[in-house]
Symmetry: C2
Subunit: 196 residues, 2 copies
Amino acid sequence: MEITPLKNYIQTNVDFSEAELDTFCSYFTQKTVSKKDFLLKQGNICRFEGFVIKGCFRLFSLDKEGRENVLYFAIKNWWVTDIDSFTNQKPAHLSIQALEDSEILLINKTNKDRLYTELPKVEQLFRIMTQKTLVSLQRRLIRNHSDSAQERYDHFVTTYPEINQKITDRQVAAYLGITHEFVSKIRNKRMQKKIE
Amino acid sequence: MEITPLKNYIQTNVDFSEAELDTFCSYFTQKTVSKKDFLLKQGNICRFEGFVIKGCFRLFSLDKEGRENVLYFAIKNWWVTDIDSFTNQKPAHLSIQALEDSEILLINKTNKDRLYTELPKVEQLFRIMTQKTLVSLQRRLIRNHSDSAQERYDHFVTTYPEINQKITDRQVAAYLGITHEFVSKIRNKRMQKKIE
DNA sequence: TCAAAATGTTGAACAAGTTCAACAAAGGAT
DNA sequence: ATCCTTTGTTGAACTTGTTCAACATTTTGA
């Protein structure tokens, strides 16, 4: 099992001893997920929290018109779960699908609860992680209001070049909340050339 | 000092003894904030985390065109802070302003750090709080992509009637990411009548 | 390897929401 | 009470992004 990336990730957030790191990692199991396979489908209960080792996932939800809205993409060193579904063991709003052949470390609810009681510092780790995620989501929400589609596309591409290179324009569009046709028009800056 | 609302709030989230509740609350101080006064201005360092007792605040940021984007409104039982600025003691992205004469309980960084070490359960409390906030923000982001301005307005008004009644249409517009003129047109459903 | 499916491109017509301006109404401060 | 500022309303012209359709290109699966 590839635990090194997980250990490295934890160390960037909290101060764990080598023994604590081992305890932490011992509760995870590695899983291989093929391209297009689902880790979770909207409506099912999310039984895991996952740390991506390799590959790429998308977390999305279907709206009433049947359109897929992407919450985020996860490559190596990102976490994936439907927090609400996982912590309260109720039906998920989100679906999680592999966009490439991927490797992921998973922990189930029982083991995560054990971790919280056995290793109190784990509370701190997940509090800090969740805070960071919240801050970036707050900024993304505000950017969605203040920036044009063009600006949001440019921001995505420059902020996440590694992700951009793994996914299709249709997926970027579903993340930005615009149509894939418009992404195409943004990319080939024909619209700007017309103005010139 | 009015600590009852804070105690009640904590009990809905974690299992604290009466003694723990008292310890927790002892680190807070009450402050009266007049309408239009700022608790925090963008660029300054956020020195507090606050629990609203009475009144109403808005948390917003100015974009490059000078427009105010509202992240959220906070009435009684809501928390207000710029998390990133508070936890890392760096300049804030957000401004926090009272929209009414308000009462708020504040805790500073030193005391919050003391709380984390003296009362380990506080880690759990804030992890759970942050998780809940994250889940609702994730859903709001997706709604912003899938719903029309009309639908988002209706959702806001029915979800937060108490807030809606305290604020102006201009503030709602800044929260929804649309112009106040368009909110006016949505409210007086003239646009729909034209279609009929 | 070949057919089928998914992806990307482009244009024209359209819809949703913005901008600007002008005015009415309501609230605050003195 | 009164002036001044803020808020809400409405219309017309405009901009941004959507929809639909047609086609080219790439990828995938058997």
